[in-house]
């Protein structure tokens, strides 16, 4: 982040434009820094986001899908939705971009130390959860049991399929993938995230739950966690809101007196409980 002028991006190069999903609507972009000094200054943790600048189109905020334990590259998994994301999808490898960040508060990976973590994700919201999972796995000894519940509408819409296959082989990670509708060749679970969570979530003692996904998934998963005995202080959410500056100045992303960009996007459920229900 340029401390003198936080509106200025740093120049980046698009190394890889990879189609993640069978509907071709989500791609993962791998970016490299053009200047060594910018790379060293870009110190981040999972859960934070950055504004990606597509020259001629504008900038949009995306959570980092990469983990800081994967140096030299930033990854963003982006759903094609509007002007900037469509332009991003059409960029060829080698294109010049800008990135402004890191912005926002990360997942509380320090308090996670020595604790069990259950990561619950749905749809393309899994990007920052991928960053968190990689981070925890790369510092595996610091954490207790790790459970990942990841759901998508269909097998083709799961992100990071190769990586998931690798995680499935590990004995130090309990990965549960599930889809709403199975298809030929799918050998995993069929079912919604809340039901699967109820089945596989570890006991709440000494455990943090991290949840990110579409509103309907969150709505039905939170009661499952609460019923299982998870206190709101240990249920971690990552919020989405329309943003521009990312600095808590342009005004639009507030929930009550908090700005999602600078005071979030990561909040505990306890913190959200103290804010108006407007998101």
């Amino acid at each position: 982040m340029n401390r003198e002028n936080p509106y200025l991006p740093v120049p980046m190069r698009l190394e890889k434009n990879f189609v993640e999903t069978s509907d071709r609507n989500i791609r993962t972009f791998t970016l490299s820094f053009l200047n060594q000094a910018d790379e060293e200054a870009f110190r981040y943790l999972p859960g934070q986001f950055a504004e990606v600048f597509v020259p001629g189109k504008g900038e949009s905020p995306f959570g980092m899908a990469s983990s800081p334990t994967e140096p030299g590259r930033l990854k963003f998994s982006v759903n094609r939705a509007g002007v900037v994301t469509t332009a991003l999808h059409e960029l060829t490898e080698g294109a010049s971009l800008g990135v402004r960040g890191p912005l926002g508060h990360p997942y509380p990976v320090e308090p996670f130390k020595g604790k069990n973590v259950v990561i619950i994700g749905g749809g393309f919201a899994f990007s920052t959860l991928r960053a968190l999972t990689v981070y925890l796995l790369d510092r595996r000894a610091d954490y207790g049991n790790i459970t990942v519940v990841y759901g998508a509408r269909s097998p083709g819409l799961l992100l990071y399929k190769e990586e998931l296959a690798g995680w499935a082989q590990r004995d130090d990670l309990n990965l549960v993938t599930t889809v709403d509708r199975g298809e030929e060749g799918w050998t995993g679970r069929v079912g919604f995230v809340p039901a699967v969570t109820k089945e596989v979530a570890p006991p709440p003692d000494n455990t943090y739950a991290v949840i990110c996904g579409p509103p309907v998934m969150i709505k039905f998963t939170l009661p499952v966690l609460r019923e299982a005995g998870y206190p709101d202080e240990r249920i971690i959410m990552n919020l989405e809101m329309r943003m521009k500056c990312g600095l808590g100045m342009c005004g639009r992303c507030n929930i009550g007196e908090k700005y999602v960009c600078k005071d979030g996007p990561v909040f505990t459920l306890a913190e959200l409980g103290r804010l108006p229900n407007e998101f």
């Binding site: 002028n5 020259p55 504008g58 010049s96 329309r242």
Partner: protein, 343 residues
């Protein structure tokens, strides 16, 4: 207390405008008074209630280029416009000066500093003019200011027969006044000025705010929000004229090869303001949007920065096309909402 004669002040402003950027209220052909860059005292409006547009546009312009870019073989190169440099604002009202102090807390928050706003603030000296005749729509006293509140100013001038009492509030203000011939004010002049101040201060105290914050703390889901904005057109004029409304949009103009990033004023009353790319909108109707405007001014801003984000200038009252009067809105909340607990 010192005093400056009118003709001495005019001569000083003439000299000042030849060496520095000076903004002052000027009357245009249609009688509208707004801040303009002036080259001499003769251009400055002599009597006015308040300027139509607030002072914020001199520090947060309605459109402003943040940087330009050229996208070459070695990636994009960014170019930031030069800092505008030293300026003096003459003749702003204490309410507008107070609003800038509030915006300081917005543009230099606990994590980030906006160099454009803070740069202009640091480079600008504010010479304010107390309000002898507050307008019928003014309520600055009620929101913690006053027609002669010097707190946001470098110099406060208070009109007396033949000149102004001049009170320097900061070093920058004292240094500026060093260029003006100053006389000692007489005790009769001071007594007359004190009486004028007292009367004006009383006149601008028209809106009881006691208990409002406590009521808003428990009012998020109150039915009053469906009632209040029924006639609101979501036109946003109140937010554009408001000296403390600071919301902006950031957009790019140009091509993949070259262009610029600009920020422009935006408004929480516009539906697009919070619309997600997914189609979801956390504030889909006027009910949520108007609630946000009131809550931000009288609750959220108080929680974050310790003061109400309203200076009582009354511009929103004067210019609303459907006469949605913030004073009546506050009254409705006072009458219909019980003090409650958050959220």
């Amino acid at each position: 207390m010192k005093k400056v004669k009118k003709e001495d002040l005019a001569a000083f402003l003439d000299r000042l405008a030849s060496t520095r950027t000076v903004y002052a209220p000027c009357r245009d052909g249609e009688g509208t008074v707004d801040f303009q860059r002036v080259t001499g005292a003769a251009e400055i409006a002599d009597t006015y209630g308040n300027t139509r547009l607030s002072i914020k546009r001199l520090f947060l312009p309605q459109t402003e280029t943040l940087f330009s870019y050229r996208n070459g073989e070695d990636g994009p190169v960014f170019d930031v416009p030069a800092r505008p440099g030293p300026a003096v604002v003459f003749g702003l009202r204490p309410c507008d000066a107070k609003s800038l102090g509030m915006l300081d807390g917005v543009f230099a928050n606990d994590q980030y500093t906006d160099p454009y706003f803070t740069g202009r603030r640091a480079d600008t000296v504010l010479v304010g003019l107390g309000c002898v005749e507050p307008c019928s729509t003014c309520f600055c006293t009620s929101v913690g200011g006053g027609p002669f509140d010097p707190s946001g100013l470098d110099v406060l001038l208070s009109e007396v027969p033949g000149g102004y009492l001049a009170e320097a509030r900061t070093e920058a203000g004292a240094s500026l006044l060093g260029g003006v011939p100053l006389l000692d004010a007489g005790s009769d002049e001071l007594a007359a000025a004190a009486a004028v101040k007292e009367e004006a201060t009383r006149k601008a105290d028209t809106l009881p705010l006691a208990g409002l914050k406590e009521r808003l703390d428990g009012a998020f889901d109150h039915p009053v929000w469906a009632k209040i904005p029924e006639k609101c057109l979501d036109c946003g004029i109140c937010t554009f004229l408001c000296p403390t409304c600071h919301c902006f949009d950031v957009c790019d103009e140009g091509t993949a090869v070259a262009g610029s990033r600009v920020r422009i004023w935006d408004s929480c009353l516009f539906p697009l303001y919070t619309l997600h790319a997914s189609g979801h909108n956390p504030r889909p109707t006027g009910r949520e949007r108007y609630r946000q405007r009131v809550m931000h001014k009288f609750r959220y801003f108080v929680d974050r920065l310790g003061c109400t984000a309203c200076v009582g200038c009354g511009r929103c009252v004067v210019n609303c096309p459907v006469n949605l009067d913030i004073r009546q809105v506050v009254g409705m909340i006072r009458d219909q909402v019980e003090a409650g607990i958050r959220p």
